[in-house]
Each structure stands twice: as C-alpha cells, then as structure tokens.
Amino acid sequence: LFLSPSISLSLSMAAWDLSVAVEDLGTDAPPITVSVTSDLHIGGVILKLVEKSQVKRDWSDHALWWEQKQQWLLRTAWTLEKCGIQADAGLIFMPQHKPLRLGLPNGLNLRLRVCFSGPVFRTVLGICKMLNIRRPEELSLLRPVEEKKRKKVRDLSEELYDLTEVPLTSVSRPCLYNGMPAHFADSPKTEKVYKMLSVSQPAPAPEAIAKLYRPASVVDKAHIHSRWLDSSRSLMEQGVQENDRLWLRFKYYCFHDLEPKYDAVRLTQMYEQARWAILLEDIDCTEEEMLLFGAIQYHINKLSLSEPQTMTSSPAMDDLDSALQCLEVKLDGANSSPQDMLENLTAPELNDYLKIFRPKRLTLKGYKQYWFKFKDASISYYKSKEESLGEPIQQINLKGCEAAPDVNVAGQKFCIKLLIPAPEGMNEVYLRCENEEQYSSWMAACRLASKGKSLADSSFQSEVQSIRSFLAMQQTNPNTHTDDSMSINTHSLVSPRYSKKYKAKQLTPRILEAYQNVAQLSLTDALLRFLQIWQALPDFGISLVVVRFKGSRKDEVLGITPNRLIRIDLGVGEVVKTWRYNNMRQWNVNWDIRQVAIEFDGNVNIAFSCVTADCKIVHEFIGGYIFMSTRSREQSDTLNEELFHKLTGGHEAL
C-alpha cells in the first residue's frame, strides 16, 4: 500500500485503544487497555502498560506475545505499524523465561526456568549452561513420546527436581565450587540434584525396562526424529506452554572435545543416553557386545555407589593426602630393619590342594587332586604338599593366557578355565576350587598372571573383592545374606530381548566373563569405554527419517549420520546407497513443495520429500552435522551461533 504522506500522518496520529492481557495478573483479570498511536514503538507500549498496571516489580524479563500470530514482539524499537498491529490484535504481556519440565537422558525430571522467547538453540544453550554441560550445540529438545494412560497416573507422582530458583550465572564457564558450579552449591537440595546429574543412576528394574516404549521397527525409529523442535524458532512459537514436558537429548552424534575433567555432567548424561539406547534396543548390537555393555554398566553402577565422595574432594587436598601418605611410607621404611625388609622380599604365593583337569585327546579322565603352588605368574603342581619342595610335576606359565570362569554357585562348582597359548595351539586346563574363597583368590591370581602381573601386584586384593562381589550376584537364594548392596539383577543390564532369552544363572556367568576385561577401569574410563564401544557400533549415530525419493513411488528411509547420508530400502532393510558429506556440493530446500534437493560431486543429484518428519528437521540435521564438522578446525572455544543458524535456519534465517 502506498499511502500519501498526509494520510499516513493523519492515520498514525490517531490514537486508538490497544488491550493487552498481563499474564502476571492472572487469567481472570481483565486485559489492560492503553491508548496508543500507530507510530508508537513497542517499548513505548510496554512502558504505558507497566505504568497502568500499577504493579511495582521487575518487568525487565517481560515481553509482548502476539497470540493469533504466534509470535513475539521483541524488537522494541519497531512501531506498531511496522509490526502490523491493530486494535484487534490479542497481545499478552508475559515473562520470556518460564518454568519447563525437562526430562534428562538419565530419566531425571527437572523443573527449571528457560527462555521461551529466543530460538530453541539459544534456549538449549541456557539450559546447558545451567546444568554445566559443555558443547550445548550437540543437544536439543524434543517432545516426549506420548505415554499410555496407565503411565499418566504414575507420571503425577514422579519426582520432579525444582531448579527454578537457582540463579543463572553469566560466566561462560562457571567456576567450580566444591566440585560443582557455584550456583548448585547454594543449598544442600541443589547439591543433591547436581550429584544426580553427574553420577549415573542405578540400574532400573528389568520390569521397568520392559514396560518402556521400544521402537519395534525402522519406521518406529524414524518416528522418534519427528519430535525434534525447530532450533530456529522459540518454544512459544512451537506451541510449548509453561510447565510442559520436553526431553533434552544429544541430537548430533559427534561429540567434540570430551574432557572428563570438565564434563562430569555431559559424560554422565551421554552415557545414560547410550545406555538407554542399548537397553531399549534403539540401537542394535550383537550378543557379545550386549554382554560387554552389561559388564561395564555393572562396573559403573558399582563404582558410582562406592565413590561418590571423590566428587567433593578438591585436587589440592588429594595432593596433600598423597604427599602425607608418601611421607608416612617413607618414615615406616626408615624404621623397618633390614630383617623386616628381607621378609617383605619373599614373593607372595598361594598354596593349596586343587583339582586339575586337562581335556586332552578325548580322554575321559576326571579331575585329579594335586598340591598347587602359585608363584609369580605361574602355577606349579606337586603330588602332595610334602613333595612341594622338590620338582613340580608341571609348571604352567600363565602370561598371556585367557582365564575364564566356569562357575555355578548353586551347584557349588568353582572352576577356572585356562586357555594357555603354546606353539602347538591353545592348551585348555581346568582348575577346580573347593569354595568361593579359594576360587576368588586363585582366579584373581590367574587374571593378574594373564596380564603378566604377579601376586605382589597392588591390584590383587581389589581383584579378589570384585570376584567375590560378582559371585554374590549369583546367589539366587534370597535367604542368604542380602546385605550386599552391590547385588543387582543382571537382567537389568541387558535389553529385554536377552532378558527373555537367558535365565539369570545363564546370563550372570557370561557377564562375569566380560566383566573381567573391564574390572580394573576407573569410573571415568569405564564411562568412556562404554561410549567408545557404543560409538563403534555399525548403527551408531544414524538418525532415520522416512522419505520418498523423487521419481520413486515407495517410502524409503533416509539415514542421517555425522559423515554421510544413507538410503535404506524398507523392503530389504539394507543400505542401498551412501552419500558422504565430503562429496556434497550443496543442498537446497524448496519450502513450498517441502522437498530437499542435494547435489554431490560428479553431478549426482538427489531429491526427496519427507514423510515422517518435517523437511526442516532433515535440513537442520544435515546443516547441523556440517556445522559440527567445522568445529574441530577452528581452535577457539566460542560457539559460532551465527554459522549454525545460517546452516540450519532455512528461510527463517534469511
């Protein structure tokens, strides 16, 4: 419209009434009406509004929300005319930060105040800053899977940790106080919440796992990805209301610069997300891999239960402690006489009657009892204790061997299966122990020896302990001592498929077997190992979307991964084509017909429309991964937000 200056002037000068609902006064309160002219800017409207409301408070966080158009009026310098607001506009004056119920990867539900007015990307940055998660660009928000009605009832009672009162810091990397960000250290309540964020949660009951939603097919998995919120628009604009539920998840599967020192929360949440992906069969793995995952979970559970206090101790104190200990040792050493030292010099050994069985050349000979001596890294055995000073019948060096348990607690069977490499092949030897005690120490010795360590190694006792605690898990009889807090159900460590497939007494020994390879890891190393194995799965990091390729009549699945796109034939269920981002020239979205077109090197062009998810989601995924790949090159820590929006924004960004 081209109005002549005089008319526009007269129009703009004419005052009219604008009624604005003020959220803080309550839903029942009548809207406040202010007299405005069209050339009044938004800031002026707000000023008038506040004056008229006669409420004295901090209004700085408030802004105008245009209900019909579902948009914020954040540019306070714009005039009403420029915004296109007329008297019939239903405006609401409300705070930009509101509480939101946030589900974290570890299942924890938080209530915290987040930004409803900025783009979701910015909102996530705020949440991550608050929760002390670095690299927030890798995460995003998605709508939760609808729960069945039966669940709703439980939902009300579910625990919600309120963090709405926690003040936000403006520092980019919050300083740590007592091992946690200062804003968490204010009250014991928030301290507790922080612990829950940074320490992995205990294993859920197998029944609970079975009840949770599991995607059954490729298409189901694809549906999950339709739930991601649009990063370039605000929560309000996407229909998210105050106190709604959203999930915070890692969206882009390329984890940059993981540093356990700073990333306690990030690492834990990443682990939890990985764990649940595996438990809920969101990502497929083999049986061996599942057992290893189970073993690491067990190990992590155990460690997080036993060493929560390490969180609080500062490194300086640790240094002092170790220095003091060192000094103590030195003083002790100075006091001990050479005679004592000589006594210490005799290498520790194990001596006992054990039974041995060597399945050789189809002989059916059973176990035979000998006097066994374990010294250094080898086992020797003698006819009897009396002859143990002479030549052993045989001496077996265990370095490089594989020691596997063959245990049935209920059946009182405690065997150690040794696979000892020799030039002719592997020699199989079974050692049978009488009881748990004996088994624990001999097994521990065998394991150390297989790594070339002797009994004198400091890890011997902890090895014995871990074997014992694992044996305790096998105590199927609930009447026996259950005071051991470590005893957990092995079924809660594997996905329901394997829970169904195996009984606990079949599962436990197999997890135990896998466990011995990880038993010596520290908590952080165990977390990292879990993530590493997860990332090494062939299906890792593939986000699926059902699409229809141009010229094709059937639905197919597009997999988006950190480095490539894959095309999966739904009929065969196999990857039929791979395109790598490295070869990508450009991609375009035709927003009118909702079609994504991508051009690759060598004049390869593909185009598809999206079936399960909006094409903005696909666009954002591709652009997001391109953005992630730019991070490593620039060394600076600052997040290039502008670039992210440029790559993912689509037409809104322009």
Partner: protein, 655 residues
C-alpha cells in the same frame, strides 16, 4: 638355518678359547676383584678366627653376595653398554673410568664397613657417637630419624651376630667356590661379552635347561648360585655348565619352567634391587639418616663422604638396572637372500629397529620398509606393526623355529593410508580420490572420538577344522570382532554369531594355501594367537575370492584391532620419510624443493638391496672399531671380539 645342540649353547665360549689373550686380561681384572673379596673373608677370619665351621649353604649373607654381584654386574653393564652404544661412538674410556671408580668404591666400602660391622663393634660405636650430634643439629625431625636408626640397627645386629658362624663358614666356602666360579665366569666374561650373545640365546631358546645355566654363567647369577642357593627358585645349586637337561619335551609346562629361569624376571630383579638398597642403607643409612636435611656445609667430613658414597652407589645401581635390559641378537633377511645380524633390546619398537636398519643400510627412507615375520611351517606371514615390540613378538618363536624375519619394502603396509578410499568406504571397485579428500576421510575415520571400523562384510571361505575343505559363510567385521550370519537368519546384529574376537589374535597372509590346504583361491588369510607356531585347530583360515577383498579384510581387521595407533604409526613413518628426504636432498648437491616424490626412495631401495649384504655391514663395523682404537686395550679387544661374535659367529645367528 643353524640348529643348536645343547652343547653349542653351553659352550658358546668354545670359539673363544683360541684367543686366550683377551681372556687373560679380563681374568686379571676379575682376579683383582676376587682378591678384594678374599681380603674381605680374611678380615672376617681375623676378627673371629675361632668360627671356622662348616655351615649349611643357605646363610643369607647379603653383603658379600651383593658385592660379588656388584663387580660382576658392573662389568657386564659395561660390556653391554659398549656393545650397545659402541656403534654410536660412545666413549669406552669413560665407561672404563666408571668401572674403576666403582671398583675403588667397592674396596673402600668393603673393607672398613663390611668387616667391622659384622663384628658388631664399630658399627655400634658409630651409632653411639652419632645420635647426639643428630639431635643437636636437627631438633625434633632428627630425633625421629636417629631413633629409628638405633632401633633398626639393634634389630640387625642380633641376627647378624648369631649368624656369624654361618657367615664366616659361608664366606670361606664362597671364596673357594668363587675361585672356581671365577675361572669359569671370567671365561664367560672374556668370552664376551658373550653375555650378549648368550642373553640372546637364553631368551630365544627356551626349551633347554643348559641354556639357562650358560646364560647365567656369564653373569652374577653364577655367583648367586653359589652364594645364595636358597634363592634359586628351589633349583639345586649345580655348577653351571655341567648340567645338561634333556631338551624339553614340548609339553606346556616344560618350556614354561625354563622360561621362568631364562627370562629376565622382574620380581627377582626388584628383589635384588631392594637388596642393593638395603645394602646401601645398612652401610650408610645411619649416617645418612642423621644428616638428612642438613645443609651440606654443616656436614662433617665423614658425613660428606657417606653422602657422596650413597650418591655414587645410587648412580651405579641405576646403571646396573639399565644393563638388565634383555637383548636379542636377530638375523634379518633381505630380499636378495642376504642377511644381516643385529641386536635389539626389549624396549625397542619395530619402528626403532626399522630406523636403525635403514640408517645402516643406506637404502633411502620409505614408509614401506617393513619387518615381516614369515612362519614357514604354517606358510603365513605378517608385517609387524610399527608400534609393536619386536623382542616380545620374536620370543613367541620356538627354539628350532624355521621362522624368518624379513627386512623388505611392502606397499601393503601403508596402502591403507595412501588410498584410504579403497579400504574405508566398503566399495567394490578401486577408485581415485583427491588428496584433500583422502586426508579428510582419514581424519574422519581415525581422529574422531572413536575409530570407525570399515563396514566389511561378504561371503568368505572358511577352512573346516582338521580338513582340507572350505565352506562359504557370510562374514561381517565389527569393532568387537568378526561375526558370521548363521544359516537361515538375516544379518541383523542380534542374530550374528561371533566367529572371533580380535584381542588375542593377529592376522596373517596365507601363502599358497591352494596347494597346502586346497583353498579355492590364492587369497587367504589366517588368524591365530601369536604364540601358536604349529598346526592347530586354534588357527582359523579364511579365503577370499579376490586379492582386493583380501587386502580389505586384512586392513579392516588391523583397524579394528589397532585403531588410531595405526594412523599414528603411519604419520610417524611419513614424518621420518620427509625428514630423511630433506636431509638427503640437502646433502646431495642438487637441492630440490622438498616435494615428496615417491619414485626416489624406490630407486634408492633397489640400489640398496644389491649391496647391503653382510660384507657391507662388516665394513661399517670395522670402521667403527677403528675409530675407537684409543680405547683401553682390554675393552677394545673385548669389543672387537664382541662384534666379531655378533656378526660372524654361527652360534649366535639364530635367525
């Protein structure tokens, strides 16, 4: 390949007897040390002449044994060191000087302290004098220390005194046997230094008792066996060289038992070390405790001497520790059927060995130079990875092994990184790729938070256990191992059956399995535990339809097994290649800009393989020894002998 009889092993010094001259020099030297010991025994006898009794051989007289060890070991250290570093032009004079100073050290420590202390009088006197001084100067800190010292010395004196009879008797016997041992071990000392070659022998040939003893004969172990039989792992103290165990039957236990003796045993090592320290503590700790924390200018003369002494002993001990590193003499075969012999120590990686071979053979750097293990008996071979420990790998060979170690250029070694698109993308056909993209691909694959294993899958032939028949199976490679799809199942992850996990196996190229096992094609690979050296059901054989698939699988398995290490190895190798290229282009008159042309090293390598025979290496070596002609006569002789030994003696050239 030479086969060694037990006699050979026992008397590696057989050849040396011709040249007794050098031996005598060393004999003299050793005799001097022995004389020292004799003096010690005499001084003991003087102190308590009435205590000449026969005593059981198990008296724990650490001081003397340590002393004996000390000189013996130190000599060994020197020799080893000389052999090791001689090539690099280390000054043997300084080593000699070191040795002499230690010798002096020993005599000074030995005489006053060991003599008196054991009599229980002067040590005491010293003690009574010291504590007040310590308290005076140090306050509360000193009180604790000296108090501790007193109590400890009290603890030691009593058992010592009660043992005196045993000790003196022991010593006498020791000195007797020392003479004999001296004769023999001075032999082995003179014979080189033989320690080196024997070291090698003992670490390789694990299946014979005698090798154990011949090995220990050269070192302090022989003395140990006399003086501390109780320490010898329950073994009877037979004089070394005289007991020739039967060559071990090939039971598991048999080689193991020997290994226990042969191998450098860290536990025992630590024990010894601690003895050394206890020795040190015993001698000087009382003084040292008192002077701890005292500024040096306040120390009395005596204290300063003690401190110096402690320091010197510490340095000596460190050097000795260094000398305990296991070494192996290996024969490396070249592509022209010639071979060269070299010594590697247990800490060296394949890369380091390759570097020294490249330095010696002047064949130009190329990252493709490889050490290849060929197992003739099994007709398989493997390129050692650069990060692997060579000695560890070679120790898996049996004594009578026909295996060979080849030094040869193999493009397969790093083809993966030169053309990653052919290996990482799971494509069926080879293709070209721009360098920029290759780099990006490698970075993507190896530099992420986890290494992505190429998605290898397809039908392979699997040899059935114990039969010469092959069955088709659909195999998949995952980071966690190799899987196959069971019959009648889809290839969903959950249904896969684990064929092998890769932690304990290495992947080998099979050679000519078509005729050996009736394989369907020539493109075979085998997976086995490195220790397995003979036909076994634990070796798995796979056969691919074409050579491309074979290389893809082998490289896939390498990536799954070694991950990023592989890429780091490659980058390291490339760095060296570039450095070497820069250097060589600078040294030659025509300075080219440092472009990395690949044709150049190849031409050099062909040149190299023609003339890098034994002759060349010997020339080099004689050059080395000539340059060190000013070195004191004993050691230059020994050195020469050692090098001859190392390079010409048929006995030591096991491979």
């Amino acid at each position: 390949m030479e086969q060694l009889s037990d006699e050979d092993l026992d008397h590696t010094d057989g050849g040396e007897e011709d040249s007794d001259k050098e031996d005598q020099d060393l004999d003299k030297m050793f005799g001097a040390w022995l004389g020292e010991l004799d003096k010690l025994t005499q001084s003991l006898d003087d102190g308590r002449p009435e205590t000449v009794q026969k005593a059981p051989q198990k008296a724990p007289l650490r001081q003397e044994t340590n002393m004996a060890n000390f000189c013996n070991r130190f000599s060994m250290y020197n020799i080893n060191e000389a052999l090791n570093k001689g090539g690099e032009g280390v000054d043997l004079d300084s080593l000699m000087a070191d040795l002499c100073s230690i010798e002096q050290e020993l005599s000074t420590i030995g005489k006053p302290n060991s003599g008196k202390n054991r009599l229980g009088v002067p040590g005491d006197a010293k003690l009574r004098q010291k504590p007040p001084a310590g308290r005076g100067t140090k306050g509360h800190g000193g009180a604790g220390g000296s108090g501790g010292g007193t109590s400890s010395s009290g603890g030691t004196r009593r058992p010592l005194a009660s043992n005196l009879d045993d000790i003196t008797a022991q010593l006498e016997q020791a000195s007797l046997s020392m003479d004999e041992a001296g004769r023999q071990s001075s032999h082995s000392l003179a014979s080189s230094v033989g320690t080196v070659s024997e070291h090698a022998v003992r670490s390789i040939s694990q299946s014979s008792w005698s090798s154990v003893n011949s090995a220990s004969a050269s070192s302090m172990d022989s003395l140990d066996s006399y003086l501390r039989p109780s320490e010898q792992d329950g073994a009877t103290p037979t004089p070394q060289g005289s007991n020739q165990g039967p060559p071990g039957s090939t039971e598991v236990g048999q080689p193991v038992k020997n290994k226990h003796h042969c191998k450098y045993n860290p536990e025992r090592e630590r024990e010894r070390e601690r003895e050394m320290h206890s020795y040190l503590d015993w001698e000087t700790s009382l003084i040292l405790q008192n002077i701890a924390g005292k500024p040096s200018h306040l120390l009395t003369k005596e204290e300063q001497v003690a401190k110096k002494k402690a320091e010197k002993i510490r340095v000596a001990l460190e050097k000795i520790k260094e000398a305990q590193v296991k070494k192996l003499v290996i024969r490396v075969h070249l592509s022209d059927e010639s071979s060269k012999t070299m010594m590697v120590d247990e800490r060296q990686t394949v890369r380091q060995v390759l570097d020294s071979l490249l330095d010696k053979s002047h064949c130009g750097y190329s990252p493709d130079w490889s050490l290849v293990e060929t197992i003739n008996e099994l007709q398989m071979e493997r390129i050692f990875e650069d990060h692997e420990n060579l000695v560890d790998s070679l120790l898996n060979w049996t004594r009578d092994s026909q295996n060979r170690l080849m030094f040869i250029e193999r493009i397969e070694k790093y083809a993966l990184f030169k053309n990653p698109q052919n290996y990482l993308l799971g494509r069926k056909e080879t293709c070209e790729m721009a360098d920029r993209n290759k780099e990006a691909l490698l970075e993507e694959c190896f530099c992420g938070s986890s290494v992505s294993v190429p998605e290898m899958e397809g039908v392979l032939w699997l040899k059935e256990d114990g039969k010469k028949s092959w069955k088709k199976r659909y195999f998949l490679l995952r980071a966690s191992g190799i899987y196959y799809v069971p019959k009648g199942k889809a290839k969903a992850s959950r249904d896969l059956v684990c064929f092998l996990q890769l932690d304990h196996v290495n992947v080998y190229y099979g050679q000519d399995y078509r005729s050996k096992y009736k394989a369907p094609t020539d493109y075979c690979l085998a997976l086995k535990h490195p220790q397995i050296q003979k036909k076994s059901q634990y070796i798995k054989y796979l056969c691919c339809d074409d050579v491309r698939t074979l290389h893809q699988w082998i490289n896939g398995i390498r990536i799954a097994k070694y991950g990023k290490t592989l890429y780091v190895n490659y980058q390291e190798a490339m760095k060296r290649t570039e450095a070497a290229y820069d250097w060589s282009s600078l040294s030659s008159s025509s300075i080219k800009s440092g472009s990395s042309s690949s044709s150049l090293p190849e031409s050099q390598s062909t040149h190299c393989s023609s003339d890098s025979g034994v002759a060349v290496s010997e020339n080099n070596l004689s050059g080395h020894s000539r340059s060190q002609s000013q070195v004191s006569s004993i050691f230059s002789e020994a050195w020469k002998r050692g090098t001859q030994d190392e390079y010409s003696s048929p006995v030591t050239c096991l491979y």
